[in-house]
Symmetry: C2
Subunit: 385 residues, 2 copies
C-alpha cells in the first residue's frame, strides 16, 4: 500500500497539478479595481462613505440579518458583539477549545475569561450534548443568572464557531443556551455563505461576527461585520465602533467608551466587489470539495470532511481528517505536501494549550484533542477549479 504521505500528495496532485499552490488566495476578477478607483476619486476613503453603507446593506440582504455593521476586522466584530451581549469584566464565556485565537482574545479584551468546551466530530463545532453534561456539573443558578460553581464567576455567553465554514449544531446549542440562560453570539468569521436549515450562519445568535481577512472567502484587505436582527443593538454597535460620539454639528462629546473600529470606505469598496462574486466562489469551492472527495476516495486512513447534515457549508477550508490510527502520521503528511509545494496546515493549537490561556476553566476536551491531531487543511482557493 502507498504510504499515507505519498498517497495524499498524489491525490492532491491529481486535482491541482504541480505546485506551488497556496492554502488560500483571494480572487479579484470583478469590479474591485473600478470601485476602489471610484472611491479614491471621491476622496472619501476613510470613515464615512457610500461604499460602507452599500456594503452593510448588501451583507444584510445576503445573510438575511436585519442589520450588518461593517468594522475593521473579525476580532473587533466579535469583541463588540460580546460587549453588546452583556459580557463584562469578571464574566466567563463558553468558547470552543478548537478555534482561532481571536475567539478567546475577544473575550479577554473585555476583561472576561474564556471557558473552553469540547467539539463534535460531526460538525467540528461545539458539541451541545457534551456542553450540557459539563454545565450540569459546573453551572449553578443564582438570582441573576448562572455562575461557575468552581470559580464563582458569572457564565454569561456562549460563542460557537463554524469551523472551516461548516455550521455547528445550532438547534442543540440554542437549546443549551436557553436552558442555562447564556446569550448566544456566533463566531461566523469563517462561514460567510454557510447555512443551517436554510438560514445563514451568524443570524441565530443575538449577534454574529464575520471576517473579511485576506484568507477568508471574500476579503476587504482587513475587515469584519457584526450581524444582528435587533435594530437597537445594531445602532449601538455602530455607535460603539465609531468612538461613541454623540451626533452634533460640531461638538465632540463621547457618551461611553467606544472604539475606532470603523471599516474604511476604501476597504468597503473592495468588499462590495467581492460580495458580488460570492455565489461564484461558493460554487467553485463546492466543486473543489467534490473533486477532492473523489480524489481521496481511494486513499485509506483519511477522508474529506463534508458539510454536516441539514447544512450548506461554504467549504471555506477544505479539510482532510486522518483516522485515529493515522494521527501520528500528521506531521509527515504536512512535510510531504508542503515539500511538494502544495500548502497544507494542521488545525490551530487548542486554546488551553496556549500559554496565555492554559489556566482558563475548561471541560474535558477529548474530541477537540483528537481532531487537533488529525485535521489537515488543503489548498482551498476558489480559483483552483
Amino acid at each position: 500500500m502507498t504510504p499515507l504521505p505519498k498517497a495524499v500528495v498524489e491525490a492532491l496532485q491529481s486535482v491541482l497539478g504541480e505546485g506551488p499552490i497556496p492554502l488560500h488566495e483571494p480572487r479579484f476578477h470583478g469590479n474591485e479595481q473600478r470601485y476602489v478607483q471610484d472611491c479614491i476619486e471621491s476622496t472619501f476613503v476613510s470613515s464615512v462613505g457610500a461604499y460602507v453603507d452599500r456594503f452593510e446593506r448588501a451583507l444584510a440582504e445576503y445573510t438575511g440579518a436585519r442589520r450588518a455593521v461593517a468594522v475593521v476586522n473579525g476580532t473587533a466584530a466579535l469583541q463588540v458583539a460580546l460587549r453588546l451581549a452583556g459580557v463584562r469584566a469578571g464574566d466567563e464565556v463558553i468558547a470552543p477549545a478548537l478555534t482561532f485565537v481571536a475567539t478567546a482574545n475577544a473575550v479577554h479584551y473585555l476583561g472576561a475569561t474564556p471557558h473552553f468546551a469540547d467539539s463534535s466530530e460531526a460538525t467540528l463545532g461545539l458539541d451541545p450534548d457534551a456542553l450540557r453534561d459539563w454545565l450540569e456539573h459546573t453551572a449553578e443558578r443564582t438570582a441573576d443568572g448562572i455562575r461557575n460553581r468552581h470559580t464563582g464567576r458569572p457564565l454569561r455567553a456562549v460563542v460557537p464557531m463554524h469551523t472551516f465554514g461548516h455550521p455547528c449544531d445550532l438547534d442543540g446549542l440554542m437549546a443549551v443556551a436557553h436552558d442555562y440562560r447564556l446569550t448566544l453570539v456566533e463566531d461566523a468569521a469563517e462561514s460567510l455563505g454557510s447555512r443551517y436549515h436554510g438560514r445563514h450562519t451568524g443570524t441565530f445568535g443575538l449577534l454574529g461576527a464575520l471576517s473579511f481577512n485576506g484568507n477568508k472567502i471574500i476579503t476587504t484587505g482587513g475587515g469584519g461585520a457584526i450581524l444582528t436582527n435587533d435594530e437597537r443593538l445594531a445602532d449601538h454597535a455602530k455607535h460603539l465602533t465609531t468612538t461613541a460620539k454623540q451626533p452634533h454639528r460640531w461638538e465632540y462629546v463621547h457618551d461611553e467608551i467606544g472604539y475606532n473600529f470603523r471599516m474604511p470606505n476604501l476597504n468597503a469598496a473592495l468588499g462590495c466587489a467581492q460580495l458580488e462574486q460570492l455565489p461564484d466562489f461558493l460554487a467553485a469551492k463546492r466543486q473543489l470539495a467534490d473533486r477532492y472527495q473523489e480524489a481521496f476516495s481511494g486513499v485509506e486512513g483519511a477522508h474529506l470532511i463534508r458539510e454536516p447534515e441539514g447544512t450548506k457549508s461554504n467549504y471555506w477550508f477544505q479539510t482532510l481528517l486522518l483516522d485515529e490510527g493515522e494521527a501520528e502520521q500528521r506531521d509527515r503528511v504536512l512535510e510531504a505536501t508542503n515539500e511538494a509545494g502544495l500548502m497544507t496546515r494542521p488545525a490551530w493549537a487548542l486554546m488551553h494549550q496556549l500559554v496565555p490561556y492554559r489556566d482558563c476553566p475548561r471541560a474535558p476536551l477529548p474530541v477537540a484533542e483528537s481532531l487537533a491531531r488529525r485535521v489537515i487543511n488543503l489548498p482551498s482557493s476558489a480559483g483552483l477549479v
Copy 2:
C-alpha cells in the same frame, strides 16, 4: 466695529472665497491610483505585502525613528505603545485633558486609568511646570516607582499629545518624566511632519503613535504607526499587532495575548503614495497659516495660533484662539461660519467632562478649560492654497 462672528466669516472668505469648504479634506494627486491598482493585481491586499514593508521603511526614514510599525489605526498604535511601555491593569497614566478621546481610551483598554493634567497656552500641549507642581502634591515614591498617594495606584507613564500638530514642550516634559520615573509615550497622531528642535515628534518618547485617519495630514483610509528607536520594542510591537503568532511553517501557536492590529497592504499602498506628497502638504499648510494670519491681523478679539518657539509645526489644523473676553462668542462664531458653508469646529470636550471619564483623577485644569472655551479650528486642507 464689525461683530466678531461677521469679522471671522469675512476674514475666512478673503482667503477661501465662498463655501462650502470642509474642515479637512485629503488630496490624492500622486501615485495613489497606481499603487492601489498594483496592490490589487498582486492579490496581496491583506496582512502581508510589499507596501506594508515599504511604508514602514519610508516612515522610519522620514521621521528618523529607527523603526516604524504600521498598524490599523492611531488608537491601536497608542494602545500597543502604552502596553510596551509597561502600562498594566490598575496603573495610572498622565494624559492631557485637552485631547481627542482616543488618548484616554487607549489607556482604558489596558485596564489602566487616565489621570488628566493641564495644558499650556503656548503649546496647547501638557504643561511641564504645572505637571511638576501637581506631581509634587500627588506622587509618592515607592520601591518600584511612583504612585498616586490618593488612589494608591502606580503612576506609570505620561502621554503628551501634539495638539493640532504643534509640538509640546518636550524638553520640559522629558525632565519631569525622568524625575518622576514616568515612561514617556508620545501621542503624535496629529503631528506627522512636526519637529521639535529639528527632531521629529513621536521619536522623543520610548515609543510614539501616528494616525493616518481620513482627516489627518496623510491618510491610509484608516491606519496608524508605532515609532521607536528600540529594535527590540519594534519587534515586539510587530509580534503583538500580528496576533503574537510564533513563526512556524504550519503551526498556529500564540505565545501571549496579541491583537489583530495589522494595517492591510491595500491601505499601505495608499499610504506610500500619500507620504511621497507630505512635503507638498506641509508647504501648503504653512502657506495657508500665513494667509490666515494676514487675514486675521485686522480682526480684534482673536488671533491665529502659530508654531511654538523652537518647533516646526505641520499646521495640521489651523486654529483661531478667541481672547478670554470673547469666549462667550464662540458658539456664535461657529454658527456664523458653518452657516456660511465654511466649516469650523471647537476643541473636543475636555476628557474630565465626558461621562465615562468624569471620575478619573485630575490636576487643576484652568488652562485646558480656558482653551476649550476659545479654540476654533478653521478649514485646513492642503488643497486650499
